[in-house]
Subunit: 412 residues, 2 copies
C-alpha cells in the first residue's frame, strides 16, 4: 500500500514535542524518518506519561514509525556518522529537522558542505536563541491571563502544550515548502524559527495583538464561554456538563428553538433594546442569555435531549474526563478507522492513532509502533551510510553506536 | 523579492479559524490565495475581536495577503464562476481548501470533472460530518478536565482555540503533501479530515490515550505546574508571577544552583529516600520542591534575578497580560523582524506578524494586509476565469458578483 510521501527520507535530531511530532507526522504520511539519539537515549526518553511498566508513553507516541539509531556524538566518529546520515545522497533525501541547535559540526554551514542542497529546519526557543518551552512562552504572551473563571484572579495555563503542537505542524509545512522549492530550483536552504515567534504570530493572526493595541478594554477571563459570540457550558439534571454553541446565526436560532426559549429571548431583546441577532451583542449579554437557558438544561438529563440536538444539527458536546472519553466515545476507539488497537512492546495494548488526513488515493494503514532505541542502527549504517559489515562491527565494538541486538549479545 | 511558494495558486472557500489560517499561511509563504465569499461576506466577517471602528480584527488577521472575490453562490452563474476559479488551468493551480462542505456543485466528484488533477482539502467537524467546533471538541476529549487549579472542581477551557490552529496547520501540510505527489505522479486527490480527529490523534501522540487506558490513576488538574517533571509558577516580592522550569537534568540543576537551594533539596531527598534527579520524582514531589523554592522567589523582585537567570541560561518567563506583553516585550513589536507596523484600512495601526519561518534564500517581506471583501473580483474574473470586460460588466450588473469599486460606483 502506498502513502502520500513514499520515498522521502528525513533525518531528525530532536527531543520533546514539536520536532518529534513533525517527524512522526511525516513518517505516518509515508516518509522514512531516521531519528538519531545518544547511546543513553534522548532528553525525552523518560518523559511522562509512563506505562505501568515505567516506559514512556510520550516517547512511544511521538516516535511512531521512525527508524532509530543510537550514536555516541561526543566522539568524532559518531559526529561523522550523523553527518553522513544527514547528508546521504538521494533526490528525496538531504532533509534534516532539529531542535538541538548544536553549533559547529551540526550547524547548516558545516553540514551543507557535504550536501549542497541540504534542507535543514531548526526550531529554537525564542528568536534570540534563549531556551524557551511551551510552559514559558504561553504565560509570557498572556493566554493564561485570559483563561479561567471570571472571578478567578490568577492566570491558568492549559494542560495542552498547544504552541509546541502548532510549531511541530509548522515544521512539517516549512520542510515541505522548502522541498517543493528544491524540486523546482535545485537549491536547499536553512529554515529557522522560534517557538515564541510561532505563538506571537498566531496570536496576531487571531486579532489578539490588534485588540490589545487598539482597544482600551483588556480581554478578560470568561470561564468556558465562547469568546465574541454565544457558547456556554451548562450543568444538566444528571450532573453532566454540556457545551452548547450559538456562534453563527443558524446555530443561535437552532439553540433557541430546541430549548423553546424564543419568547424569553425576544423579551430580553425588547427590554434592553439590543439585537441578539448580532454575535457581539450575544457575547456582551452572555450572562443574561445564560440565565434564560440554564434552567432548561438544569431540568433535563443529557439523554433526554441528546438525540434531538443531534437530529437538529445543534453544535454541542459533553464535557468528559479523558478516561470517560476513552470509555464512552467511539471516536477514540478502533471503531474510528484512524485508530488501531496496537500491542506496543513494553507498554501495553491501547488505541493508537494514525494520520488524521484521509488521502483518497491512499488507503489508511495501521500506525507503526515506535522503535526501540537503536533498533535500526545496523540497517541505517548499511543502507544509508553504506558501510561494510566489518566497518559496522568495529563501530559497535568501539562503542560509537549501539543497538538492542548488540547490547543483548554483549550481555550474553 | 521571491518567496518560497511563489507561483502556487490556491482557492479557499472557508470561514472561521482553521482553513482561513491555512490559506493565510500559504499566502505569507508566497502562494496566490483566492478566497471567495458570499456577496454579504463570510460567516466570520464580523468575528471578534473588533477594532474601535467595529470592523473585525479577527478577519483581517486570518485573511492577510489573500485576494478576495464576492460571488452570489445561490445563482447558477455564481456556482459556475467558483467552479471555474477552483478548476482554472495551470500546473501550479487546481488546489482548493474548504470547510464549507457544500454537497453537489462544490464537492470533489463534481469539481474534479472540470479538472481531473484537482487537489481538494476538506476539514469537517467530526468524522461523521456532524458540526463540531474547537469549543465542543475540546471539552469532549478532556483537556478542560485536566486544566485549572488542583482544588478547582469544574473543567476549565483555554482561551486559545488550539485544535483549530493545529488543524489549520495540518491543512497546509496535507495540501503540500498532495501537491508533491501530484508533481511526481500526475494525479490529484481529495483529502478529508475532521477537527475532532486532529484533537484525538494529537492527544494520542502525546501519550494521553495510552495513559487513560493503561493506568488506573486519572490525570488530574495540576494548576500551572509543568506536567511530568518540575516547572512551577511563583509570585515574587514585586507581585509579578514567574514560571521557572526544571524539566531536563540541566534545567533542574541550574534552577537549584541559582536559587541556592541545593542543601535543602538534598535534605528533602534524604528524608524521603527519593532521587530528585529522576524527572518523575520531581513531578510527584512538586509540592515539597515548591515549598523550598517559593520563599526564594517571594523574597525577591523579578529585576533582582532576571539578568542572572538569563546569564545562566535558566528557562523561565514572566506571566503577563497580552496588553502588558504588547507594551513591554520587544518580541511582540516591530523590533522583531517578524512583525511590521501596518496601517490596516478601517482598523488602525499595530504590529502585524509575517511568517514565523525564516527561509535563508528568501528575505523576510512585510506582511500584506487583508483585502476588502470583493477587492479582487474584477482581477480574478479577468486573469483567472479569463472573461472579457463585457462579460465581467454583465456579471456585476446582474448582481452575480460584487466589489467595493462597483458598489461605490453604483451608489454614486
Amino acid at each position: 500500500m502506498t502513502k502520500i510521501l513514499d520515498g522521502m527520507r528525513v533525518v531528525e535530531g530532536s527531543a520533546f514535542v514539536a520536532v518529534p511530532l513533525a517527524g512522526m507526522q511525516l513518517a505516518q504520511m509515508g516518509a522514512e524518518v531516521i531519528r538519531f539519539d545518544r547511546i543513553e537515549g534522548g532528553l525525552d526518553s523518560e518523559r511522562w506519561p509512563l506505562a505501568p511498566s515505567g516506559r514512556s508513553l510520550f516517547w512511544a507516541g511521538l516516535n511512531k514509525g521512525k527508524k532509530s539509531i543510537a550514536v555516541d556524538m561526543r566522539s568524532t566518529e559518531g559526529q561523522e556518522l550523523v553527518t553522513r546520515i544527514v547528508t546521504a545522497p538521494g533526490p528525496d533525501a538531504g532533509m534534516f529537522l532539529t531542535n538541538l541547535r548544536v553549533r559547529g559540526w551540526m550547524d547548516y554551514e558545516t553540514l551543507s558542505q557535504y550536501r549542497r542542497d541540504l534542507i535543514m529546519v531548526t526550531l529554537m526557543g525564542d528568536r534570540h536563541g534563549r531556551p524557551q518551552v511551551d510552559y514559558t512562552v504561553n504565560p509570557a504572551l498572556g493566554i493564561p491571563d485570559m483563561t479561567g473563571p471570571e472571578d478567578h484572579d490568577a492566570p491558568v495555563a492549559s494542560a495542552l502544550p498547544a504552541w509546541d503542537l502548532i510549531a511541530g505542524n509548522m515544521v512539517v509545512s516549512a520542510l515541505l515548502a522548502a522541498e517543493r522549492h528544491r524540486l523546482r530550483h535545485g537549491n536547499g536552504q536553512e529554515v529557522e524559527f522560534a517557538l515564541k515567534d510561532v505563538a506571537a504570530a498566531t496570536m496576531g493572526h487571531l486579532g489578539m495583538i490588534g485588540d490589545a493595541v487598539l482597544n482600551e478594554a483588556q480581554r478578560g477571563k470568561a470561564g468556558n464561554a465562547l469568546y465574541g459570540a454565544y457558547g456556554q457550558d451548562f450543568v444538566c439534571a444528571c450532573g453532566q456538563r454540556v457545551m452548547a454553541i450559538g456562534l453563527t446565526a443558524r446555530q443561535w436560532a437552532g439553540l433557541v428553538k430546541v430549548t423553546e426559549t424564543g419568547a424569553q429571548m425576544d423579551a430580553l431583546a425588547q427590554r434592553t433594546g439590543r439585537d441578539l441577532g448580532d454575535e457581539g451583542v450575544r457575547w456582551e449579554m452572555r450572562h443574561e442569555i445564560t440565565a434564560i437557558l440554564a434552567p432548561w438544561f438544569a431540568a433535563r438529563r443529557v439523554e433526554e435531549f441528546a438525540k434531538e440536538f443531534d437530529k437538529r444539527g445543534i453544535t454541542w458536546s459533553i464535557f468528559r474526563s479523558i478516561k470517560s472519553a476513552v470509555q464512552d466515545d467511539p471516536d477514540l476507539s478502533a471503531e474510528n478507522p484512524m485508530f488501531s488497537m496496537l500491542d506496543q512492546p513494553g507498554l501495553g495494548r491501547f488505541p493508537v492513532p494514525g494520520c488524521p488526513a484521509q488521502f483518497s488515493d491512499h488507503a489508511r494503514t495501521k500506525p507503526a509502533p515506535a522503535p526501540e532505541l537503536g533498533q535500526h542502527t545496523e540497517e541505517i549504517l548499511g543502507d544509508v551510510v553504506r558501510l561494510s559489515d566489518t566497518e559496522i562491527a568495529q563501530l559497535f565494538d568501539n562503542g560509537v553506536v549501539q543497538s538492542p541486538r548488540y547490547a543483548a549479545r554483549s550481555a550474553a
